[in-house]
Symmetry: C2
Subunit: 451 residues, 2 copies
């Protein structure tokens, strides 16, 4: 076969890149677990009608068919399966299917691939890994979970700074606040107004002003009021003063504003400096009903949001209860592709191996295997050299992989188990495979800021 | 929406089951890493023509199409994408695509889902997780890797016995030995003979005898010789005596026999009692050229092989080199579904949470959040109670999830940070969230043999 070429939109990493992704996922999921979120997985497919009822543009869904259906009959549209385009729709279905067997509030995280047949571009893929966390509860969900979810995400990204991931800014807003405000100034088309405001970064304030007048029938004064609201940012109670200074008051606005202030103050107390109220945040999806979140990597704002979400009230239902929820979704592939492209984070080696045991000659390979076995029994990742080449060649084998140590078994008739060489310093010492330990930093590949 | 129903062939686990699967995967992958295998992932899709050239029955492949192709033009068959049905075909393509950027011998593991549109039945799914490990090298691959791969698998399963996974038997054979023997007795149709022998467990010796005569034109004597060979098992050099006692000698047979003895003796030295030569093992796939492997769970033989593989010489090529390799693939979904169905392994809880911090009243939720934050800072998975219900109800919340500890913050005006209660024993002590630690066994969910 000729050398295959990559498929656009289906990213893959070399082992060094995968080591970065794996470490990043370990930090994310271990942080989620610290807050009590349990990991689950769902199947990759959902019935096509379930996928199409969730507001995605239908042309983005990948539909499956078996190459040769056994009976030649085309399946009906309800029997057809599609690949999930996010992890929220499958999670909603999982909760509804298993509601009798889950303990609520149910807090889960989920790391899986999703697929969208959209045009690939920087940071947008056809296959991508998401890391989601959500909380759902039957009938009512306390608002404090709207604080917890972005706090967990902020805590995870704070830990990621140690490996070279830039700081993040989690911008938050509240749908009730926006709806109450728009209704308060006399704009009935709340969804339409949100859709226009969502374009603020793209088309600018004058574009938004024109669109509000053309698309939702806003007067110049109404459009100005919306722009004034959208310009408010802050991370404390001053946000409330700024909103109320606009002179609009409705019960819904006041409820949303109270929730927003509770959110930024709570987040500020738990993870200072990450969560900011930003009243232009709208989020495209119309199922959000309370807090909404968008996360940018500081210095990489053009990449778009790397972690979004919000509160939803009617996404999940099992027929007898609805399950309001709140969640966020980390765009792992988008994030990792940027970290690797810009060389922000690197792995110290692409193999787990800490020690290469040299082989004197093929007849004595079992001696090297035994030394390797003793090192592994103590948790030290160890390989045995692929061939009994000259020692210089065996050392180069380790060096090319950044394996830090080479173990030389004792020659015929010599006492002991040989010597171990740190090939970076050249230091070589007699050592016992039942006692020798490399420094912790050499034991596993280190994922760290690039040099 | 009404309650959804499961899709046959697409298994999903409740959180407790997923905890078992996650732990099992951690044992597998950490063992693979101890032997120097690096983790990678490949995309879920391959070009359809690449999938169909690998000998799978074409009706098992799931083909993708976008629901609405942008230009209304049907893609040609070379542009069509299908979901991979194993991890070997994508690995071969990944190696060919990246051969200039990988260090060889390249040792990798890969844990991902695969899809086959076959009829679902016990242990056979349409979507399933595989954990593969392979070694490939350009042009030549030393035979000692044919020993290493089953040794790594055996070592991983030995570690899994601690959580209640039954012991395994890795049955091994050698294609060269079989081919040399069949040719030595005058049977030219080696693949046909292997296909018949592969049915021995299903149709029995008399069925095989008849099929060999009917399908590959064997004489009664040739059929008997094949059955005699297939009856040989053992885990030391006595296997060689038994084979040679059949009176057939060819150079190919002797090479294969030597490799087989090296394999069982090497495995016996490194992981005693797991790897057994069993000369009826044939493996259906025709790309194997040397060692072949099949693994059964002792006491669950009817489940079929839970980890198979072998040596292949011409599966991977980048146009200028071929990359012979050897690998095995653990059927994770098949294994986990049996462990859960028979209740062999259990997780001590379905949530990561070790401590639930009670909430006195909603006004003092921040006090509980702060205690939880201090516990988390020391690595203790902690949740805060969802509501300020009566303490009895908050304890029941923990009890229902098997969370072992409930922390009660100090009441108004009281000194200290409150008390922590082990809700299993009822013991309650004053404690400091900056110093208190639960026993290691309570810190994370334990995955262990079922009671």
């Amino acid at each position: 076969m000729a050398r295959p070429v990559p498929l656009s939109g289906f990213p893959e990493w070399l082992p060094e890149g995968r080591a970065v992704e794996t470490h990043l996922l370990e930090v994310l999921t271990s942080t989620f677990e610290l807050y009590g979120y349990a990991g689950i997985e769902t199947r990759a497919v959902e019935p096509l009608d379930a996928l199409l009822s969730k507001g995605e543009t239908s042309k983005e869904v990948y539909v499956l068919r078996r190459l040769q259906a056994e009976d030649g009959v085309e399946p009906s549209s309800t029997d057809q399966l599609g690949l999930h385009f996010d992890l929220t729709v499958p999670f909603a279905r999982y909760v509804a299917e298993n509601s009798g067997r889950l303990a609520f509030p149910f807090k889960r995280y989920q790391v899986q691939k999703a697929w969208r047949g959209e045009r690939p571009q920087d940071g947008r893929f056809r296959e991508f890994t998401q890391a989601d966390l959500d909380v759902v509860a039957p009938d009512t969900l306390p608002a404090h979970y709207e604080v917890e979810v972005p706090v967990v995400v902020a805590a995870a990204f704070e830990r990621l700074r140690a490996i070279g991931v830039p700081p993040v800014r989690i911008a938050v807003n509240n749908r009730r606040l926006a709806q109450g405000f728009y209704e308060g100034v006399g704009l009935a088309d709340v969804d339409g107004t949100l859709r226009v405001i969502d374009k603020l970064d793209k088309i600018g304030p004058e574009g938004v002003r024109a669109a509000l007048q053309a698309e939702v029938g806003a007067s110049p004064e109404q459009a100005q009021a919306c722009l004034d609201l959208a310009s408010i940012t802050g991370s404390d109670a001053s946000v409330a003063d700024a909103v109320l200074a606009l002179g609009v008051r409705t019960p819904l606005l006041e409820q949303g504003l109270q929730e927003l202030i509770t959110l930024v103050e709570g987040a500020q107390a738990q993870v200072p400096g990450v969560v900011v109220a930003d009243l232009k945040i709208a989020r495209g999806l119309d199922y959000y009903t309370g807090s909404v979140y968008e996360t940018t990597l500081v210095g990489h704002e053009a990449l778009g949001s790397i972690c979004s979400g919000g509160r939803y009230d009617s996404l999940v239902s099992d027929g007898s209860h609805t399950y309001p929820g709140v969640g966020m979704s980390v765009g792992v592939s988008r994030l990792v592709s940027r970290l690797l492209r810009d060389g922000l984070v690197q792995a110290s080696r692409g193999v787990p191996t800490a020690v290469l045991v040299a082989v004197i000659d093929e007849e004595r390979r079992a001696v090297s295997d035994a030394i390797a076995g003793r090192l592994r029994a103590r948790g030290i990742p160890t390989e045995v050299a692929p061939s009994a080449a000259k020692f210089g060649k065996q050392i180069r084998h380790a060096d090319r992989r950044n394996i830090p140590y080479v173990w030389f078994p004792a020659g015929e008739g010599a006492a002991g188990d040989g010597e171990v060489k740190d090939i970076r310093s050249g230091d070589q010492v007699a050592a016992d495979p039942d006692g020798w330990l490399p420094p912790e930093a050499d034991l596993r590949p280190q994922v760290r800021p690039a040099d």
